[in-house]
Amino acid sequence: MTELFNTALTPWEWTQLISFYGIAALMIVAALMVVTLRNIFHSALGLAAVALGAAAIYLMLDAEFLAFVQILVYVGAVVTLIAFMVMLTQRASHGKLVRQSNDQKTISFIVVLSLFALLIWKIPTTVWNTTVSTGNLADAKTLGTAFLKEYIMPFEVISIVLLVALIGAIVLARREPK
């Protein structure tokens, strides 16, 4: 880490650094919004921001395909769904619920913090088996080939899972015929 600052950086590198930390700060703030805001709808907006930030991070990591998918799925589908949910349960969220968090706030905080401490302590000191990127990076074509070759089986399974989830959601949400 220290050598990072000791070396001279190109402008592109500076751009990368600054944008990364900027996006990271944005995401953290948005994430905090998600878990703390009283208005659940605002929380959903925070989640959308986190998702967008994550997409930017993906772009930064040369995963363009994934970035677009991220935007499509999260912002396009998940957040929309959540917005629906919020609206459908509007009365419950606004009427009675004064408190937004439960009784185990403090203890949860301590536990999460300790977990965080443990990991934040270990992550920098761990030696990651990184390689220098040479040659072609994985692109959408590589992924598509992989999905239809080595990962064909999980791919099919996940599609079935989606189907099952779809049907299950319909069955659960359907009104019981009286």
Partner: protein, 103 residues
């Protein structure tokens, strides 16, 4: 990439911990669901980062991330249904009011 792997991991960790905290403390079921989505996103960041730094040619981590997204979408869909179902039956979506698992 000038930003080291550890920084991505730390970002991911922070978001994960925030999500976890939310999942543990929010009373609103939709909030819990959103917190879970946060955690999944954090995990995805991890996967993509590892993919980029460890095996940039194969993109295995990205493939994993795609699967996680699919599952996330599925879980949201089912979660929505469950929440609506619970709301319909209990007139509440406060997680600490729903203790059906006690029996």
């Amino acid at each position: 990439m000038i930003v080291p792997l550890a920084h991505f991991l730390i970002l991911s960790l922070i978001i994960f911990c925030i999500g976890l905290y939310g999942a543990l403390t929010r009373r609103n079921a939709v909030g819990i669901l959103m917190s879970v989505e946060l955690m999944l996103n954090a995990a995805n960041i991890n996967l993509v980062a590892f993919s980029r730094f460890v095996s940039p040619q194969s993109g295995t981590g990205q493939i994993f991330a795609v699967f996680v997204m699919a599952l996330a979408a599925a879980s949201v869909a089912v979660g929505l249904a469950i929440v609506i179902c619970i709301y319909r039956n209990h007139r509440t979506i406060a997680a600490d009011k729903i203790d059906l698992m006690k029996w």
